[in-house]
C-alpha cells in the first residue's frame, strides 16, 4: 500500500515541476539575459495562471520582465507563481501519502481577516527597511543570474543579513539568507562552477523573497509584548518523542524533534524545534553544546524520556513552541513503542499556506519487515530510497546501521522527483547483537568512545571561541 503510493505520482505533478523548472532555468543566466527559449518558458506561466486570481498580475509581471523591466513587484509575482505551483505539488503529494498511511490531517485554519489591532503581531517597526535591503540584493541576484554571481555579488547580502540578525523577530529570514549567501560565497565565481544547483538556489531565493515582503505576520516563536505571537493555542500534555532531525549551515544548528503529543483531546503529531547560532568551525557532535539552554529537551532525547508540557503554545501548523519553563522530564519512553502504539492514530496538521513546498514534507513513519541495504528499503511490493545524505555526524546513525536495520522510524521526504526515507532511529543487528540508535542519542554528548574523543577535541573549539569572544568582544 505504502510502496504503491511512493511509486505513484499525482496527476499534474510533472507539468507543475516543468513550469517551475522553466522559471528556475531563467534564473541561471539571469533575467537581464533571457534568450528566446527562456523567455518562452517564463511565458508558459502566463498561460498556466490564466484561470487563477493571479492572472492579471502574472501577465503583467512576466511581460515586463521579458521586455527588460525587473522591479521588486515583478519579482514578488514570480516568486508567488513558484510558491503556488510548489504549494499545489505539496498538497497533491501529501494527500496521496496520507491516504496510503490512513493519516488524518486537519486543514489549516483560515487566516483571520486583518483587523485594526493586528498591527501588534506584525513584524516590528523598522522591519520594512530591513526587508528592503534583502529585496534589493535578491533583485541583483535575479538580474545577474547564478552564473553571474562573483565574489562581490555573493558578499553583497552581508549587510542585510547582519541587520536582520540584530532583530529577533526577523530571525527566520536572517537564517535563510545567511545560509544562502554562504553557499554563493563558497561557489563564487559561479561562472566557472561545473554544475549549478538550479532548483535549490531558486527555492532559497524565492522563499527569501516571500519572507522579505512587507507586512508578513511575525513568527510564532518571536515574542510580542512578552507573549508568543501568532494564532497558537496553549496545550497541556505529554510529548512522546519519535526522533530528532538535525539541520545545519555555517551559522546555525537546529534540532527539530518529531513527536506525539498526548492531550485530553487525543494524540497529535507535532514538531518542536530549538536552534542556536554558531560559526562554521563548530560542527558535528560538538554543535549540541550550542543548545545547552534546553537541558530538559536534550535530556528527553538522550535518555529516551517523554516530556510533560504545561500551557505550551502549539501553532496551527503543528509546531510546539518549545519553552523549557513549561516543560519537565517524564517517564522513560521507547520511541519505537510510542510509534507502534500511537502513530497510526495520531492526527496531523497542515502546513501554513505560504510555507507549503514538497521539500518541507517530512512525514514520520514506522517501517518494519523490510529488507534493507544502505541505499534502499525493499518494502515488499516496491522499494524506497534511503536519504543517506541526511545521516548527520552529530548522531550515531551510520549507513552500516541502516543497512543492517530491521525497524526504522523515518521521515518520508520528496526531493529530486522521488520519495525517500530519512532514518531518524533504527533497530539493527550488528555482529549478531541487537542495537538501537536514535539521531538524538548524543544530545548530551556522544555515547560512543571514539565519537566522544572527537567531540572533546572539537568541543574545545566552542570554549576557545567563547574565551576569545569574552576577551575581545566587550572592549
Amino acid at each position: 500500500m505504502l510502496a504503491d503510493a511512493l511509486r505513484a505520482r499525482p496527476p499534474g505533478l510533472d507539468e507543475a515541476f516543468a513550469l517551475v523548472d522553466g522559471l528556475d532555468d531563467a534564473l541561471v543566466h539571469g533575467l537581464a539575459r533571457l534568450d528566446d527559449d527562456r523567455a518562452a518558458a517564463l511565458d508558459a506561466l502566463v498561460g498556466a495562471f490564466s484561470a487563477t486570481p493571479l492572472a492579471d498580475r502574472v501577465t503583467e509581471a512576466i511581460g515586463k520582465i521579458i521586455s527588460g523591466t525587473v522591479t521588486d513587484e515583478h519579482l514578488a509575482v514570480l516568486a508567488g507563481c513558484r510558491l503556488a505551483l510548489l504549494g499545489a505539488a505539496h498538497d497533491a503529494l501529501l494527500t496521496d501519502l496520507d491516504a496510503a498511511l490512513t493519516r488524518t490531517r486537519e486543514p489549516h485554519p483560515a487566516a483571520p481577516a486583518p483587523a485594526g489591532g493586528a498591527a501588534g503581531s506584525m513584524a516590528s517597526a523598522g522591519g520594512g527597511q530591513l526587508s528592503a535591503g534583502s529585496r534589493s540584493w535578491l533583485r541583483e541576484l535575479a538580474i545577474a543570474g547564478w552564473r553571474g554571481v562573483d565574489h562581490e555579488l555573493a558578499a553583497g547580502g552581508s549587510p542585510a543579513v547582519q541587520a536582520l540578525l540584530g532583530e529577533p523577530s526577523r530571525r527566520r529570514l536572517a537564517v535563510l539568507l545567511d545560509g544562502f549567501a554562504a553557499e554563493l560565497r563558497a561557489a563564487a565565481p559561479v561562472a566557472t562552477l561545473p554544475r549549478v544547483p538550479v532548483r535549490r538556489w531558486a527555492d532559497l531565493w524565492s522563499r527569501a523573497l516571500i519572507l522579505a515582503q512587507a507586512g508578513r505576520p511575525a513568527e510564532p516563536g518571536s515574542p510580542v509584548d512578552g507573549r508568543p505571537a501568532g494564532s497558537g493555542t496553549l496545550v497541556d500534555g505529554r510529548l512522546l518523542i519519535l526522533g530528532a532531525d538535525l539541520h545545519e549551515h555555517p551559522t546555525v544548528f537546529r534540532c527539530q524533534v518529531h513527536g506525539l503529543l498526548e492531550t485530553a483531546g487525543g494524540v497529535r503529531l507535532v514538531r518542536t524545534s530549538v536552534a542556536a547560532a554558531k560559526v562554521d568551525t563548530i560542527s558535528g557532535a560538538a554543535a549540541w553544546r550550542m543548545l545547552s539552554a534546553f537541558p530538559i529537551l536534550l535530556a528527553g532525547l538522550a535518555e529516551h524520556r517523554c516530556l510533560e508540557v504545561a500551557r505550551m503554545t502549539l501553532t496551527a501548523g503543528g509546531d510546539l513552541i518549545w519553552d523549557e519553563t513549561r516543560a519537565s522530564a517524564g517517564e522513560p519512553a521507547d520511541p519505537f513503542v510510542s510509534a507502534r502504539v500511537l502513530l497510526a492514530g495520531a492526527v496531523a496538521t497542515s502546513t501554513a499556506p505560504l510555507d507549503r513546498h514538497p521539500s518541507v514534507i517530512a512525514e514520520p513513519v514506522l517501517l518494519e519487515g523490510y529488507t534493507a541495504t544502505a541505499e534502499a528499503f525493499d518494502l515488499g511490493g516496491g522499494t524506497v530510497a534511503v536519504e543517506t545524505d541526511r545521516l548527520p555526524a552529530a548522531g550515531p546513525l551510520t549507513p552500516e546501521l541502516v543497512a543492517g536495520s530491521t525497524a526504522c522510524i523515518g521521515l518520508l521526504r520528496f526531493d529530486g522527483g522521488r520519495w525517500a526515507v530519512q532514518p531518524i532511529a533504527v533497530r539493527s543487528t550488528v555482529r549478531k547483537k541487537a542495537v538501537t540508535a536514535h539521531t538524538g542519542d548524543w544530545a548530551l554528548g556522544p555515547t560512543d568512545a571514539k565519537a566522544a574523543k572527537t567531540e572533546a577535541v572539537a568541543g574545545t573549539a566552542v570554549d576557545v571561541l567563547r574565551e576569545r569572544a569574552g576577551r575581545l568582544l566587550r572592549k
Binding site: L204, A275, S359, D415, G416, A461, L465
Partner: protein, 165 residues
C-alpha cells in the same frame, strides 16, 4: 553527478558546501576567504590578550600581518611569510581543503600537492587590520545571539552535515 538518476540540478537538498573539517582553534581561531583575501586571526604565542591579524590577497599574494593594535609583526619581512601567516594558511587548508583555498587565491597547485606556499609568489602588502578584526568580532558575535524556538521551515533545505567519509 547524479544520485541514483536524480539530477543534482533538480534537487532541493543538493549539497553545495563541503562540510568544514574540524580543526583545532586555539592557534588560529578565525580564518575566512573574503574581500579578495585569505584572512584571519592568529593567537599570540606569548600574550593571551594579543592576536595577530594576518592576510594574503588573492592574485597578487600580498602578505600582511599586524597585531590587533595595528603594530607590524616583527616576523614578517617583505615577501617572506611569518609564522602567523604560515599558521593561517595551514588552518585555511585544514578547514576548507586545498582546492577551495587555491581557487580563491587564483593558483593551481599540482595534483596531490598538499602545501600551497610552493605556488604562491608573495609580495609585501598594506594590511587592512581593522576590517579583518571587525570581521572576526562579527564572527564571534554569532556566539552571543540568543537561541531560537521558531519553527524555521527553510532549515529543511539544510540537513546537518554528515560524517566526512
Amino acid at each position: 553527478m547524479t544520485s541514483e538518476g536524480v539530477a543534482y540540478e533538480r534537487r532541493g537538498a543538493a549539497r553545495v558546501i563541503a562540510p568544514v573539517r574540524p580543526r583545532k582553534l586555539a592557534k588560529v581561531p578565525f580564518v575566512e576567504l573574503a574581500e579578495d583575501r585569505l584572512q584571519g586571526v592568529v593567537s599570540s604565542g606569548s600574550d593571551v590578550s594579543r592576536v595577530y591579524v594576518s592576510s594574503i590577497t588573492a592574485r597578487e599574494h600580498g602578505l600582511s600581518c599586524n597585531t590587533n593594535n595595528n603594530r607590524p609583526c616583527g616576523g614578517l619581512s617583505g615577501a617572506y611569510p611569518c609564522n602567523h601567516l604560515r599558521a593561517l594558511v595551514e588552518a585555511a587548508v585544514a578547514q576548507y581543503g586545498i582546492d577551495r583555498v587555491a581557487r580563491y587565491l587564483r593558483v593551481e597547485p599540482p595534483e596531490e600537492e598538499t602545501e600551497i606556499w610552493s605556488v604562491l609568489h608573495p609580495v609585501a602588502a598594506p594590511g587592512r587590520t581593522p576590517e579583518v578584526f571587525s570581521s572576526f568580532l562579527r564572527h564571534l558575535g554569532y556566539l552571543e545571539l540568543p537561541p531560537s524556538t521558531d519553527p524555521l521551515p527553510e532549515l529543511q533545505w539544510f540537513p546537518a552535515a554528515g560524517v566526512v567519509r
